[in-house]
């Protein structure tokens, strides 16, 4: 068979390519005349303008159907995630290692906590009201200014010994460090079914060893008046309630694995795929 692909030398190929880019005889640029290029470009321009228009129109229609206060579905947010401060992540999740006698190892951790708590200073919380009821703070109407709903105040002093006010080092140099547990916000989530959910920290894998913990506020509860959350638009100044835990009897120079679960109806912590759902696990090692 007369082979179609006769071997061409490199220079021939280059010449062919150059001829393809600009053919002086037929005045074709890349296989088309210039006017043809103009037409095809105009067509594609128009085509893409129309497609962009259609896309924009679709997104516009989508936005029209969206409720600005709350999402249509919360399929993934059945149970809140839990986070820890200070949050230092190692290869396998949270790892907090420090040396009591070496400032540099814990100053960063302390700064993280201070920074985190700046959102909870009385100044930062001045828009929020003081709440005293220990029940859900249900608001069916917009009572706040500018069509918003009210949020309850949570100030750092509620964390007492772990507020950073009485002890700016959060107990780190003494080996009795404070950690702050925060529960993720979920719109219209009623945790605890009427009883305030509380934090409970234990060792993992060493159930016989007793972990001595001070919880702030007392019992490590999240007061029910912080719930439900009505969303960013309704409660622009809302801030999550916090629970601080202070570990009192951590043996030095041993790495421990500690889990802090939030106990309360509606909060699950047994999702094998999600290590941060309803609980937070971390490794702690205090050296001296």
């Amino acid at each position: 068979m007369a082979t179609l692909n006769e071997k061409k030398t490199c220079s021939e190929r280059m010449a062919d390519f150059r001829r393809f880019v600009w053919n002086p005889e037929t005045k074709l640029f890349m296989g088309r005349s210039l006017i043809n290029w103009v037409w095809i470009s105009l067509y594609y321009l128009a085509f893409y303008v129309v497609m962009s228009g259609l896309f924009a129109l679709s997104i516009y229609c989508l936005m029209r159907t969206i409720n600005p206060y709350e999402p249509d579905y919360q399929d993934q947010l059945k149970s809140p995630g839990v986070t820890l401060r200070p949050d230092v992540y190692g290869d396998r999740g949270l790892q907090i290692y420090y040396n009591v006698s070496d400032n540099k190892t814990w100053e960063g951790l302390v700064t993280t906590l201070h920074t985190f708590l700046t959102a909870y200073t009385p100044a930062a919380q001045h828009l929020n009201i003081n709440c005293t009821n220990n029940t859900y703070f249900i608001q069916d109407t917009f009572d706040g200014p500018n069509k918003t709903k009210l949020s309850c105040k949570f100030t750092s002093d509620m964390l007492q010994n772990c507020s950073g006010i009485t002890d700016p080092t959060f107990g780190f140099p003494e080996g009795k460090p404070c950690f702050i547990i925060k529960m993720n916000r979920i719109i219209k989530f009623y945790p605890g079914n009427g009883t305030a959910p509380r934090v409970n920290c234990t060792y993992v894998g060493e159930e016989s060893r007793l972990l001595e913990v001070d919880y702030y506020p007392v019992n490590g509860t999240f007061n029910l008046h912080y719930f439900p959350y009505y969303g960013k638009k309704a409660q622009p100044s809302y801030s999550n309630p916090l629970v601080a835990v202070k570990f009192l009897n951590i043996t030095r120079n041993v790495e421990f694995k500690i889990v802090c679960k939030i106990i309360g109806a509606g909060i699950t912590f047994d999702n094998v795929h999600d290590p941060y759902e309803g609980k937070v696990e971390f490794k702690l090692k205090i050296e001296d």
């Binding site: 085509f47 919360q74 399929d75 719109i187 795929h273």
Partner: protein, 1024 residues
């Protein structure tokens, strides 16, 4: 048998050509001659005793068993060694690295490298890359196994087809005759052959009795040749005292000494030469290669471009590599090559049903792009049996029915001359039906006798009924069989009239010889003197019949006077004691091997399909031309140079050659032609017949056609055709008449030897080319919808819209059955009314196809899929504006309180699960829009409504399978986290529906404008 001959798979094609040069034919012939003269220098010249000495054998006793075993051990069995087949493992490995596999291996390599790096860094998600690499490797291996299996299957068809029953040979050993398997024969064996046997080796004949052999498997000439013990020619190929391996003994018996066995036989040498010709790339292989280059080029350039972009956007190198893998996977249509193979084999199956057995899958399409068919005459264009075509009696020519299934003859049979003629035809004939075929149609019965006698026997059986009983009633008393010196055949019979005691002498033979012996001629049943006027009429009729390329026989008779030849007269055929002159001439019958009734139609189809049909035959030019005219290869109005010269009454040299559209070229002329002259003939004449050609010249003709840039299909049956069959773009061997060597060399076998089957093959080939275009267009489209997510992910840093594994589920899951379904699509218009595709211009994947699929429909699909993606995210809490630029935080394991547009906070896993929901939504949208894509790809020009939405049921199987697989993946496997599918809310299935409808409407408009404004800018840019 040679099963490894055609092993090139379209995915990767042999790159080296052993015999790429144009001098191949001469080389081949030279070496054939050379080896012939070397191998059997003088065996045909030696006397019997010298031969005995040379081979250490004895004519009376044969070899001893021990000696035979010794020689067998030395020479090996008497069988052709199959050409070296590529080892199976090599074939398998080739499948693993051909086509897109390389790209996917690169992807696999990258995945594993990044797995290694991430593992060393202790990254949690490192194993994802390991799995991805494993999946990619599996994809390559599985598609490789599939392609290998397909190829093996198609080769197996051929292997089973060519398997022969072991042959036996009657051999003299230890002075005893015994049957041994033919492969046990050794040089020096004395073998006996008889009519009907296949010659078991090359044999020097030492005793013959009326032996005739059919050398057609060697030379292509089907006329039996007589064999004797005499040395008649210097050339061993021409001499009569050698019979060749694989030819058949037609009649008589012979004894001979085996002089060559196995590969050393003539046929063995030709076979080994032919298998030395490398296979050329088939047109479809070239097209697929072109397509693979195109897609690989796009994949690599986009991959590299975005690698650079992502590196310069400060992505980590490792991340950039992972993007690169995604881009490669998105760009490569993993399932496509398997789909193409399946489509081709489906067509091959369909063609097999229509009697075209395709050995090499790619040949399916090659047939469709054929622009020249070089066809044999005998058996392919014609029925391969002599049939009475015309009669001449009472000064008038009558035509007979020559169709395949004649049961009556329509011509006027009332004349008494016909009665006399029919009697001669019936009686002066030695042919007989084999017994036990009474229930078969006459035309199908097997006859013992030569071709002309068979024709006459069947002719008279059709008209008169039971010929055998007529012959029994007219008892034969004497007979002189036909011989070449007399050129007549004579027999003397008693009559069937009990009152008529005369003997009837009947004679047939060459018309001029018969006429010489006649003094009277029968007109309307009466004997009239044969004057010059009547002789003139005879001459005219004879010339006319002869001019139609027919074999003419004259018939005469004589009632012997009762007084001279009484009832008990002893006829002596040696002394001829009866008159053989002054007979009464009765009539002429002319016979021809008539064209198959389907052929003229097939030829005209070829003509309208722009395919040039060239007849190449060993027959006489007049016969060849007559058949060519009757089947339409030479159309009724066109003339050859000779015709014009005759009409204008001028010498041939003065004729303007350009006026002649037809040409009949004699093999002798061809011998002296330069290739330029041949090219000129092939170029200038549209209707060409090559007559009196040797099979070797066929090769030269094929090469000439290929020099014109044509895709050439060649039919052949003889062993000597095999080089031409191999040389052709598509070699077509005859299933019935073809020799094994020819079948081996061919790409396709015509099971019914019928030219018309080639044409149906061409139709199927063209259809599959069109349908493959549709399949590829369908498959390429979604590549953009798979690619865009990566590009936008890199540039806009949104959460990943679709996963690599998900893409593989589209490419190898939902899309496979629909793309095969397009192979069942009917032709849009009469594909046999357009010219064969120009293999340099009409590409399978052209610019328009790629651009329309990639930049128009593909973009629409992407928009549709992205709308779904944004809808899912927005309804779960992430509005589109929030998504831009979130990639780093979104993918961070350290952020477990990621805020959405409503102030809710998400852990990493919750986000990942949402991301998978996004994958699923994107996947579902692509699937839904691919349904629309599938429907629009049914046609390229016509409206879908004209093509019919429901005519191709397989398309609907495809659509349901597509949606079914998507449903299973989403809801059935939605909880298997490794697959990254989630049970999607049902309403998201419908988000892309408007875009699917848009695709359909847009494509209808495109087709409408193409039909409305042919040749316009739109047509040129939008028709693929």
């Amino acid at each position: 048998m040679n099963v490894g001959c055609h092993t090139s798979n379209f995915i990767h094609v042999p790159r080296s050509r052993q015999f790429g040069n144009k001098n191949f034919s001469s080389l081949m012939l030279c070496s054939l001659q050379f080896s012939v003269s070397l191998g059997m220098q003088d065996d045909h010249r030696l006397s019997t005793s010298d031969l005995e000495k040379k081979y250490g054998t004895s004519i009376d006793k044969g070899l001893s068993s021990a000696r035979a075993a010794e020689i067998l051990a030395r020479d090996g069995p008497n069988a052709l060694t199959p050409p070296k087949a590529t080892p199976e493992i090599v074939k398998f490995l080739k499948q693993m690295i051909g086509g897109f596999s390389i790209l996917l291996w690169i992807g696999t390599g990258f995945s594993w490298i990044s797995f290694g790096i991430q593992l060393a860094q202790g990254v949690d998600s490192a194993f994802d890359n390991l799995y991805l690499g494993v999946v990619l490797a599996l994809v390559v291996i599985l598609t490789g196994i599939f392609a290998y299996y397909q190829e093996a299957k198609s080769t197996n068809i051929m292997a089973s087809f060519s398997k022969m029953i072991p042959q036996q040979a009657l051999v003299l050993r230890n002075a005893e005759k015994k049957e041994v398997p033919a492969d046990q024969l050794v040089v020096g064996d004395i073998v006996e052959i008889k009519g009907g046997d296949r010659i078991p080796a090359d044999i020097r004949l030492i005793f013959t009795q009326g032996c005739k052999v059919d050398n057609s498997s060697l030379t292509g000439e089907s006329e039996p040749q007589s064999r004797s013990c005499d040395f008649t020619h210097e050339n061993p190929l021409e001499t009569r005292n050698i019979a060749f391996y694989s030819t058949t003994c037609v009649e008589g018996t012979a004894t001979g000494i085996v002089i060559n066995t196995g590969d050393r036989t003539i046929i063995g040498r030709i076979a080994s030469l032919a298998s030395g010709v490398g296979n050329e790339k088939t047109p479809i292989a070239i097209e697929i290669e072109h397509f693979v280059y195109l897609v690989a080029g796009v994949a690599i350039s986009i991959g590299v471009l975005f690698f650079i972009i992502s590196v310069s956007m400060r992505y980590k190198i490792l991340d950039s590599i992972i993007f690169l893998i995604g881009i490669i996977v998105a760009n490569v249509p993993e399932g496509l090559l398997a789909t193409v193979t399946v489509s081709l084999s489906l067509t091959a199956k369909r063609m097999a049903k229509k009697n075209c057995l395709v050995k090499n899958l790619e040949a399916v399409e090659t047939l469709g792009s054929t622009s020249i068919i070089c066809s044999d005459k005998t058996g392919t264009l014609t029925q391969n049996r002599m049939t009475v075509a015309h009669l001449w009696f009472d000064n008038q020519i009558y035509s007979a029915d020559t169709s395949e299934d004649q049961t009556t003859q329509p011509f006027d049979q009332s004349s008494p001359s016909w009665t006399a003629l029919s009697k001669i035809v019936t009686l002066c004939n030695r042919a007989e039906f084999r017994p036990g075929q009474e229930n078969l149609p006459i035309m199908k019965r097997v006859v013992v006798g030569d071709a002309s006698e068979t024709a006459l026997l069947k002719f008279s059986e059709v008209i008169l009924g039971d010929v055998m009983s007529i012959r029994a009633q007219n008892k034969k008393v004497a007979e002189i069989p036909f011989n070449s010196t007399n050129k007549f055949q004579l027999s003397i019979h008693e009559t069937d009239d009990p009152h008529d005691k005369r003997f009837l002498l009947v004679m047939k033979g060459a018309p001029e010889r018969i006429l010489e012996r006649c003094s009277t001629i029968m007109i309307n049943g009466k004997e009239e003197p044969l004057d010059s006027e009547k002789a003139e009429a005879f001459q005219t009729a004879y010339m006319e019949l002869g001019g139609m390329g027919e074999r003419v026989l004259g018939f005469c008779h004589l009632y012997l006077p009762e007084n001279e030849f009484p009832e008990n007269f002893k006829f002596d055929t040696d002394s001829m004691n009866f008159p053989t002159s002054n007979l009464c001439f009765v009539g002429l019958l002319s016979m021809i091997d008539p064209p198959r009734s389907t052929v003229p139609d097939a030829v005209s189809k070829c003509r309208s399909a722009g395919i040039k049909v060239i007849m190449v035959t060993g027959d006489h030019p007049i016969t060849a031309k007559a058949i060519a005219k009757s089947v339409g290869i030479i159309s009724a109005t066109s003339e050859t140079v000779e015709d014009i010269a005759k009409r204008l009454n001028i010498p041939v040299e003065q004729v303007n050659r350009r006026e002649a559209t037809a040409a009949v070229v004699n093999g002798m002329e061809l011998k002296d032609m330069s290739s330029e002259q041949l090219d000129e003939i092939l170029r200038e004449h549209s209707e060409i017949v090559f007559a009196r050609t040797s099979p070797q010249q066929k090769l030269i003709i094929v090469e000439g056609c290929q020099r014109q840039g044509a895709v050439v299909a060649v039919t052949g049956d003889g062993v000597n055709d095999s080089p031409a069959l191999k040389k052709a773009d598509i070699g077509i061997a005859m299933g019935i008449a073809g020799s094994d060597a020819a079948k081996n060399a061919a790409d396709m076998v015509l099971l019914d030897d019928n030219f018309a089957s080639i044409v149906t093959g061409v139709e199927e080939g063209r259809l599959i080319f069109d349908n493959l275009k549709k399949t590829i267009a369908y498959t390429l489209t979604k590549n953009i919808a798979e690619l865009c997510p990566f590009l936008i992910y890199i540039i806009a840093s949104i959460p990943m819209p679709i996963g690599t594994i998900t893409i593989l589920f589209i490419d190898l899951g939902t899309d496979i059955i629909p793309s095969v379904a397009l192979a069942y699509e009917k032709a849009e218009s009469d594909i046999m009314n357009r010219r064969p595709r120009n293999k340099r211009k009409d590409r399978l994947v052209n610019e328009q196809l790629a651009v329309y699929s990639y930049l128009q429909i593909g973009i629409m699909q992407s928009v549709g899929a992205f709308v779904t993606y944004f809808t899912v995210y927005a309804e779960q809490g992430f509005l589109p504006s929030t998504l831009l630029g979130v990639r780093v935080d979104w993918e961070s394991n350290a952020i477990n309180d990621f805020e959405d547009s409503y102030g809710q906070q998400w852990t990493k896993y919750q986000r990942t699960y949402l991301q998978w929901t996004g994958y699923t939504a994107f996947f579902v949208s692509i699937t839904i829009q691919q349904v629309a894509d599938l429907i629009i790809r049914k046609t390229r020009r016509n409206s879908i409504f004209r093509q019919g939405l429901f005519r191709n049921k397989v398309i609907w199987v495809g659509i349901f399978s597509q949606i079914g697989i998507a449903l299973i993946l989403t809801y059935g496997l939605g909880h298997v986290t490794a697959l990254n599918f989630t049970p999607l809310r049902f309403q998201y299935w419908f988000v892309a529906v408007p875009f699917a409808i848009l695709i359909w409407v847009y494509d209808e408009i495109r087709k409408l404008l193409i039909r409305r404004y042919p040749g316009s800018w739109w047509d040129k840019n939008m028709y693929y």
